[in-house]
Amino acid sequence: MQRSNQVAQELPSLPLDGESVLVTSIGEDLALIAGVADAMMDKVDTLLNGDPSMSMKAETICWNRKNAPPDATIGFVAIVPIRLASKVRLRSVVVRRSGPPIRYTLIRPVVSLPNLIQIVCADAEEQSSYVVDRIIQTLINGKATQKRTDAALSVLTSASPTDGWIEVAGSIDTGQAFLQGWASELPSDTVRILAEEEGVLVGEFKSASVPRNDLGEQGKGFVGLLDTGKYAVHPGKLKKLFFRGRDGWRTLNVYDRCVVLSSTDVPAHIRSGLTQASASADTMRVLRRAGERFDGRDTVSDLKVPVRIGMDMVVEVTGGGMLVVGWMLDPEGHVDSLTLCTGASRQRIDNVWTRLPRKDVSTAFQHNSLFSGRLDPSRNDHGFLAFIPGPPSSAETPVYFELAVGETFAFYPLTPLRGMSRRSLERLISPLDPRTAAAAAAIERHIGPMMQAMASPAPSVAETRDLGFDETDTGKVLVIAAGVDVEEVSVTLSLLALDSEAKDVQIIVSAPVEAFDSIAPEAERLARFYGIKVRVIGAAGVQDACDAFEAAIHMTRAETLILLAAGVLPRQAGWISLLERAYRNRSGKALVSPTILYEDNSIRFAGTWLDIEAQKLVDRYIGYPRDVVHGSQSAEVIAGSLACCIVSREAIESAGGFSRSYLSTNEKARDLCLKMRLGGTPAVWLPDVEMISADNDVDMSALPMHRLAQKIDRWSFDRKWSLLINNMR
C-alpha cells in the first residue's frame, strides 16, 4: 500500500516473534490481537491468561506473509471474547490450533483500533481489503452492540481513504436514497456498500457517472440510488459510505454543506441528473424509474389511458389511521394496484376497499373524449371508501396514491385533514347511503374499525363560573348537559326554577367551551332572577351530552348525580323526589331513569330491554303512544337513559366513564350502563315519572346520517358486547 511506509515510521510494527501480539480492546468483552504464526485456523480456542476455565472461541482473519520466515508465514488478527472477573488483567492468550498451542504475551501499552488496523493493513499489503472485510464482517455478525458497531466503523474509517464526496442526498418514496456527488474510484453501475448513519447499514449503490468539468482529473460525478433494503437510510443522518475500490476500501464522505432534498424534490433532481449520465442499461432504467416517482404532482391526470381519480375526503383520524373516500374511473382495468403511500409506509387499498355507486362520476365523464364509448352504462361502482389503520403521521409526510399502470406508475397527491372532531367526521361520511349493501361492508371493514381507532380526547374543563353554587352540604347535584343552544338551556333552567323541589338543588350546567361565553351570562341572569344556584362549566372536547356529563362529573364532589340533557323537560313537578326515592330504595346502587316521551307524547324511552328471542337489546315501546306503559311497575332494565337519570358518581367513575368511540349518545349510554351493570349497578326504569324531549335535528336530510350513525354504533357495540348479551337470559 502507498501509505505503508509512512505508517511504519509512526506506528509500531506487527510483532514478528511469534510470542507476542498487539492488542486493542473493543468495549468490555472483546479484544483484537494481531501477530504472526507458522499456521492458523479460522476458528480457534483460546485460554485467557492460560487459564483452562476461561476458554473462549475466537475468530481469526489470516493473511500470507510473503518472504517471511517459516514461523512467521501467517499474519493474523484474532477477535477474542473476554470474560474476566473484575480487576483481573489480561496478560496473555493461549491459542489452541491444529499444531501445538502458542502462548502470546500481550504487548503493553495497548494500541488504538485505528492504529492496529493500519499496522495490519501495512503488513497484509494487497490482502488488506480482504482482512478488513473479514474483521468488519466478524464484528457486525457478532452480538450487536454499539461498541462493536463503532469498532467496525472505526476499522472501516481507518482502512478506507476518502475517495469522494456526497453533495446532494434525499429519499424517494420507495425508501431508497438518492445520492449525488463525485468520486475517483467509485465503480460504475452496482457496488456493495456499507453506510454509516447511526449504525451501519449494508446495501447496494447503483450509480451512473456524470461529467464534471470542475474536477479535472480528480474524479467524476455520479448520481445514484442507495438501497439498504428493509432499513432505509435517512439522508440527513448519513455520515459516510464505504465501498470496495480496485485495491481496497474507500470512503465517500458527506459534504458538510450537503443539500438534503425533500422526497418530492428528488425525482426532478434525478431526471435532471440523468440527462448527461452514462451507465449500463439496467442502471439507467432503475434511475429513470426513480425519476418518475412521486414528486408532489398529480400525474394520473396526464395518463394517456382512460384512468382518472378524485377524492372527496382524506382524513387522518385522531389516534392514527387514514380514511380515504373518493372515486377511481378505470373502465378498461388499466390499474393493476392502488397503493396509499404515507411517507415510506405503503398500503395497497384496491384489495380492501369498499366500492360505492357514483353515477355522478359516470355522468361527468361520459362526454370526455378519453372515456366516451368506454363507459359501461350499467356500472357505476366508481366510488371507494377505505380505512387504513396505521400510526399517526407528521404533517410534513407526503401522502399520495400510487397507481400501478402497466410498466409505469402514476401518482395522485392527497391532503389529509387531521385532528377532525367526531362531529365533523359524521358530516363527512354522511353521503354514504345507509340503505346500500356497500354501506354495511363499509361499516364492517372501514368505518367501524376507524371509530374504534379514533381516540377522541376526554373533555377537559376550561372555564368555570359559580353563581351561588355551593355543594359543601349537599350530597346531590343536578347536571344539565348543554349544547350550543342558549335558549335550550335557558328554558330548562327556568322550568327547574319553577319547580320548588328542583329550585333548591345545586345545578351544574356543563357546556362546550365554545358556548360558554353565551351560556354563562344567561345562566347568571337566570340564577339571579329565579334564585337558583348554578355552576357553569365550559369544557373543551364536548361534542354531545355524554361528553358534557363526563366533564361535569370531575367538577363535583357530590355523591349523587341527577343527569339531565338540556332538551329534556319535566312533565310534572316532583320528578326529582320520585327518582330519588327509587334510587334510595335501592341504596343508591342503581341508575334510575324515567319514561321519556317525544313531543307528540309517544314513547321515546321506556327502558332498554333484552329481546330474548333475538338476543339483542331493544328500546321497548319506542314510538308507541304513552298510555301503553300506564300501570307498569318500575323494573330493572338492561340500560337506562343518560338523558335523564339519577346515579351515583362513584358508579360512573368506577365503570371508567363514557366510551368515546360511538357516534350517538344512545350507544354510549348503553355501553356505560352495561359496564356499570357488570360493576354491580343495574339500571332501573321508573314508568311513573315522565319527561318529554323532542329530536333537535328533524331536518329530513339528516335522517340518512342518523341511520348510518346507528349502524356504525351498532357494529361497534356488538363487537364489544355481543358475547355478554348472547349469554344473558
Binding site: 322550568l495 319553577l498 341572569r525 337566570l526 339571579r528 332572577f529 334564585g531 323537560l569 313531543e599
Partner: protein
Amino acid sequence: MPNHSPRVLIVSHGHPSFSLGGAEIAAYNLHKGLNRIPDVESRFFARVGHPVARHSGTALMSLRQTEGEFLYHADEYDHFLISNRNTEEIERDFLRVLSDLGPDVVHFHHFIGLGLEMIYAVRRALPDCVIIITFHEFLSICSHHGQMVKTGGTKLCHRASPSDCNACFPEVSPARFLRREHFIRGLLEVADYFVSPSQFLVDRYVEWGLDRSRFVVIENGLDIAEPAPPRTLPRRNERRSRFGYFGQITQFKGVDVLLDAVTCIPDTVWGEDSQLMIFGGNLERQPEPFQDKIRKLVERAGSRVRFYGSYQNSEMPRLMRSIDWTIIPSIWWENSPIVIQESFFHGRPMICSNIGGMAEKITDGVNGLHFRVGSSQDLVDRMTEALTTPELWEILRTGINKPITYEECARLHLELYQDLALKKATSTSAVALTA
C-alpha cells in the same frame, strides 16, 4: 281579601292612549270600573316600547298620564318565548312598584311585550298576592300571531302541537316548539286564575294543558254612554239594507270574502238602496297580493261598497247610526271581538262566520245570522235573507241581550278577586294547620 280597601294592579301590554286595541281598552275599562267601586283602589301599569324614548335610569315612565298610572318601557323581548330578557329591570323597577303599591291582586291583561317573567316576579315579591291573567287570543298556544291559522294560507288550525307548529314554521324545530310550550305554560301556571271573555278560548287553553278549574268567563265591559238609535229610514217600507264592517282590513278579517259576496248578490236583490260601508284601514300594510285582491274586488263591487277609512272608538255611536247590520266575516277564530258587544249595545243584529268566539257570542237566528267561514256564497245567501225578509231585522234585534258595562264587568272581577283571596287564605291557613 284583607280588611283594607282591596288594592288591584292592572297590568296591560299597552295603554289605550298609545295603542287602541281591544285588549288595551278592556284592561283600561276594568281599571276605571274598579276605581268606581267604593273602597277599591286600582292602579294601571302598561307597557310602552319603541318608538317611545325611554329614561336611561329606569324602565318606568309616566308620559303625562293620569295619576296612579305607570308606564314601563320594555323592548328586550323574545317574541317566540314571550319572554323578557331584561330581568334586571324587572327586578329593579317592576318589583319596586310592586313593593311600594303592595297590591292584593295583580291582574295581567296580556303580557305580550312585557314577558311572562313579570308573572314570576309578582309571585316572588308577593307570595300571597292573587295573580290573574286575562287571555285575549291564542298567543301562548300559537306562534303565528296567536291566530291559530296555518301559515301560508288561511286554513284554520284546530290544535297546536310541536309537530304541527313545525309544519307551519319549518325553520323552527319541534324541539323549540316543545320548549316554547313548556316554558310558556310553566310560567302561566304561576298565576292563580285565568279569565277569558269567551268559552271558546277557555276550551282551547284547557285542551292545551291549563286546568279548567282555574278558568272563568267574564265578558269585557263597555264604556258607552247611550245606544245609537236605529237608522232613520227615509221612506216607509224602506229596507234595513245598510251593512257595516268595522275593523282592520287584514287577511284574517275576511274582508275579501265579504267583498266577493257583495259583488255576487243579484241586482234584483241588492237594489238601489243597499250599501256596504267599510270602516277600517291598514290595507296599505298588508302583503301586496292581498292588497291587489282587495282592489280588484272593490272595482268589481263598484258603488255597492264605500270605504270610510279608520275610525276612533269614540266615533262608534255615530257610525252605528248609519248602518242596520254589522258583518264580521273573520276567517280566524276570534275571541270576543269588541265590535260584537258594540253592535249589540247599539241594537244592530250581526252576520258572522260560524266559528270560534263569533259563533259563541252571536246566536244564529236569535240575534244574528251565521255563514260558513270563508264562504262568500253562503254569505250571499245570508245577506240576501237579510235583504229579502222584511221582519228579520226586528226579530233579531229583539233577540239581542245588552252587553255588560265596564262597571258591571269590574264588579264581576271584584267578586272573583274576593273569592280567590278567600280560597287562598283558607288554603294558607290549612297549610299552616297541617305544618
